[in-house]
């Protein structure tokens, strides 16, 4: 379609280069003069969105790698320090982590679009297969990236996924050892995952170039599914497609910004805020939402090898799609039966995703099996059969005819599809949380926090009182290892002056050394020091606490979560509800009861707590009325203590929250205005096309 370029630069310098390396002509013929079908709808802008997301992931990834340490002992802390100390580190990390989710969200829409409009059909088979390869590479990259923060989910996700290869007959165990570089997932594994996570995106970029090349040879498919024939069927890529894509991208950025600034942890798993611990497995190991359907397929097969084979098969089958469906009509728009089955297939995928997030028991297993059969039946039975029996409706003669025949019902369909997608997205997203806290324990009541919502700010008084409670009560057992004394004087914190922070630091004894005599010594704390843990190491902490090590509290409000349930999590997306952790911590602090209720027995050495999963908690009731006196006249009650210390711990978990929300508001405001401007510009440009 884009034959030899007739592009002739007028500038002599450009001419000189063009004769020797015709790169301007290539760019011109590919991205300026390139004829685009004029009837493309907005599902087609996801190609541009994906290009942008790939570039953004590489850019933010390269930057994060400048601050990240790929070592089993340091990785978790380095990620925390990126978020706390690096200039805009929180922003870059959120962009990269949420960006991965957005990337998959966009690629799924891109793939479903291809499926619906038959974009895999002759002559675009190679284009499609390259796409499947990109998708596989994305899955590998996303998985390895998830491992890098070295949290509990990272570690155990890595263990579980690498163990998939142990299903291979004869060589399985050797392959797994080879992947690990050790006897178990450990430092060598982390190192190689980091190396590959850095490498693969460039491989993806390479295959994307091939993908676009193949696209430009075959020409773009379009909603009518008929090839462009005359000039009237197409418009030049620039400005028409460029501006339309730019508008699509700016709308997508609004959606993206919602996550970056207001819901950064919505799509992640709370367990990944707990440092990796090879000795304890999380109750449920759940992959990121974008792998859930395949995870569900894996689990529904009661045989290890067959399960793994089916899971990979579910992706590989996509590559054979051009031959499985050899119907002559391309677009499902004109295939009444294929259209219905397509939507059934979409629902099957979403339900599989939901099941992947549920514990593998009872009805979920049965449903998983049925849906797995449906998934494969769509490709192996329905599509080949439809090609034979279906009578498609007549397709328009040309793209130009299709444009003229545009019905008025279009907007309504688009709206309903958008709605369906939003609900499906919410279902997917929330289902990750659904798998949590199934172990029992009442759902903690939602509290009102000053830091909730887009305008949320920490209540300074509460932070100062909370610090006092922490110092006088919690610090006897728990450390605060990611908070430095200097942080107390940071903007958005408890509002102390630097001198006050230094004075508080000086109250602590910090281990230092060795000195010139080669000895360790103690000195008064300095602002740069971190709140010390009360025990020299984890073993000592265990001994002093009846076998259970009190966790560090720096991240506790992010590392705890509980089930919100359907449909609550769908609303949570819109209300930006992010307070599971604080609600939970507050509830546990208040949930102690002197005696277990009748009929409930709890193990020796533990205490009854209404909100703790399983109700038996090793920690004795830490707070009682009148224990701490406040200077500002706040009531000396457990309720008040719990509220204040939870606020303080929330700040300890995310000291940059105020900055995040403030910048988020500015970005949001800008993006909305920009998208509106883009929309009108796009309309003006396209006015020339008709």
């Amino acid at each position: 379609m884009s034959g030899p370029s007739d592009f002739q630069p007028s500038n002599p310098a450009l001419k000189w280069i063009e004769r020797r390396l015709p790169i301007f002509g290539l760019v011109h013929s590919s991205f300026v003069a390139y004829p685009t079908p004029r009837n493309l709808n907005y599902w087609w802008t996801f190609g541009a969105i994906l290009s942008m997301m790939l570039a953004l992931q590489i850019l933010t990834g390269v930057i994060l790698a400048m601050h990240y340490t790929p070592h089993a002992d340091l990785a978790f802390k380095s990620v925390e320090l990126i978020v706390r100390d690096v200039n805009y580190g929180w922003l870059l990390r959120n962009m990269h982590a949420c960006g991965a989710s957005m990337f998959f969200f966009a690629v799924y829409i891109h793939m479903f679009r291809g499926l619906y409009y038959g974009s895999y059909k002759e002559p675009r088979e190679v284009l499609w297969i390259l796409g499947v390869i990109i998708y596989l590479l994305m899955m590998a990259t996303g998985f390895m990236g998830y491992v890098l923060p070295w949290g509990q989910m990272s570690f155990w996700g890595a263990t579980v996924i690498t163990n998939l290869f142990s299903a291979v007959p004869y060589f399985g165990e050797s392959i797994v050892t080879l992947l690990w570089g050790g006897y178990s997932v450990g430092n060598p594994t982390l190192n190689r995952f980091f190396s590959l996570h850095y490498l693969l995106p460039f491989v993806i970029a390479g295959v994307v170039v091939l993908h676009i090349w193949a696209l430009h040879v075959a020409g773009q498919n379009n909603p009518a599914g008929v090839e462009a024939k005359t000039e009237k069927d197409t418009v030049p890529f620039t400005p028409y497609a460029t501006i339309k894509d730019a508008f699509g991208v700016s709308c997508f950025l609004i959606f993206f910004a919602w996550f970056i600034f207001y819901m950064p942890n919505y799509l992640g798993d709370a367990d990944n805020y707990i440092p990796a611990n090879p000795g304890v497995t999380p109750a449920h190991i759940v992959p990121e939402w974008y792998y859930l359907p395949f995870y569900a397929i894996l689990r529904s097969i009661p045989n290890k090898l067959a399960g793994v084979a089916c899971m990979f098969g579910a992706i590989i089958v996509l590559a054979f799609l051009p031959w499985l469906d050899n119907a002559r009509t391309r677009s499902s728009k004109y295939r009444p039966l294929a259209k219905q089955f397509f939507w059934i297939f979409v629902v099957v995928c979403i339900l599989l995703g939901y099941l992947g997030s549920q514990p593998p028991e009872g009805i979920y297993v049965i449903a998983g099996r049925i849906l797995t059969v449906c998934y494969f039946a769509y490709f192996l039975i329905v599509l080949p059969l439809l090609a034979r029996i279906e009578t498609p409706r007549p397709v328009p003669n040309s793209i130009a005819d299709d444009v003229l025949a545009k019905s008025k019902g279009r907007a309504a369909t688009a709206a309903s599809v958008m709605f369906a997608l939003a609900v499906a997205g919410g279902l997917f997203a929330g289902s990750t949380q659904n798998a949590k806290a199934e172990e029992g324990g009442d759902a903690p009541p939602a509290q009102s926090w000053s830091f909730s919502g887009p305008f949320g700010k920490y209540d300074r008084g509460s932070l100062q009182r909370g610090l006092k409670v922490y110092k006088e009560v919690c610090s006897a057992c728990h450390g605060l290892n990611y908070i430095a004394f200097r942080n107390l004087a940071d903007a958005g914190g408890p509002g102390y002056s630097e001198a006050q922070a230094a004075a508080l630091a000086a109250e602590y004894k910090i281990k230092d050394g060795p000195n010139d005599q080669g000895e360790m010594f103690e000195r008064p704390g300095r602002p740069a020091d971190y709140f010390p843990a009360p025990f020299p190491n984890e073993q000592a902490a265990r001994v002093a606490n009846g076998g259970a090590a009190p966790p560090d509290l720096s991240l506790i409000t992010k590392a705890r979560s509980y089930k919100r349930g359907f449909p609550q999590f769908v609303f949570d997306f819109f209300t930006q509800y992010q307070e599971q952790g604080p609600d939970y911590v507050d509830a546990v602090l208040q949930g102690f009861e002197d005696k277990a209720p009748a009929g409930v027995t709890i193990p020796e050495g533990s205490y009854y707590n209404k909100y703790f999963p399983g109700h038996a908690i090793k920690m004795p009731k830490p707070l009682s009325d009148g224990q701490v006196t406040f200077d500002d006249g706040s009531p000396a009650t457990v309720k008040q203590y719990a509220h204040d210390v939870t606020t303080f711990l929330m700040w300890a978990a995310e000291p940059r929250m105020e900055e995040r929300k403030r910048i988020g508001m500015q970005v949001f405001f800008f993006l909305v205005i920009f998208a509106i401007l883009m929309y009108f510009t796009k309309r003006k440009v396209w006015a020339n096309a008709h």
Partner: protein, 176 residues
């Protein structure tokens, strides 16, 4: 994108295109800012650059120690009478970077020389008590500093810098 209107008749369309373009430029610039700002030292690094205190009692006359502040080596020399004498008697006109010794030490603490031990040529670390001037010698390209840390010979253009410091007592200084 091209507009059909002529320059002396700006239309609403021109305004729209210019506004959109301007917004895109503003957005791009605002996006680049954090991507560049992240390269600056992070908060932990800045906090680690806080002033340090050094006890001078263990340093005997004619000896010197090296301490680190903000990742840079700082030489603290306990100068001998002879060294002080030499440093004070050099005619300023013979120095490439003229500075009297009194400007390089604290008044009343003549015996203590505190300098950043980084050669002003290309950043190597000079060796103390070497060279022709009873001071420092940088082996990299042959710069020689005297007992006041002033450049006397070689390619370095300037004297060894004196870091900000103050005497907390006769035997204790704070650097930074």
């Amino acid at each position: 994108m091209t507009t059909a209107s002529s320059a002396d008749h700006p239309t609403r369309r021109d305004f729209l295109f210019v506004a959109t373009g301007a917004a895109a430029v503003v957005g791009a610039a605002a996006t680049v800012w954090p991507l560049v700002a992240q390269m600056n030292p992070d908060a932990a690094t800045i906090a680690a650059g806080a002033p340090i205190q050094v006890d001078l009692t263990p340093i005997a006359e004619g000896q010197d120690i090296k301490v680190f502040w903000r990742g840079k080596p700082i030489y603290i020399s306990h100068r001998t009478k002879k060294q002080i004498q030499e440093a004070q008697s050099v005619p300023l006109s013979s120095l490439p970077d003229p500075q009297p010794d009194s400007a390089r030490v604290k008044a009343g603490h003549d015996q203590w020389l505190v300098v950043i031990g980084i050669c002003t040529h290309l950043g190597c670390i000079p060796i103390a008590h070497e060279g022709n001037y009873d001071g420092f010698f940088c082996p990299c390209h042959g710069s020689q500093y005297d007992s006041s840390g002033r450049i006397r010979q070689g390619p370095a253009p300037a004297n060894l810098p004196v870091p900000p410091y103050a005497f907390l007592s006769d035997t204790k200084i704070q650097i930074g």
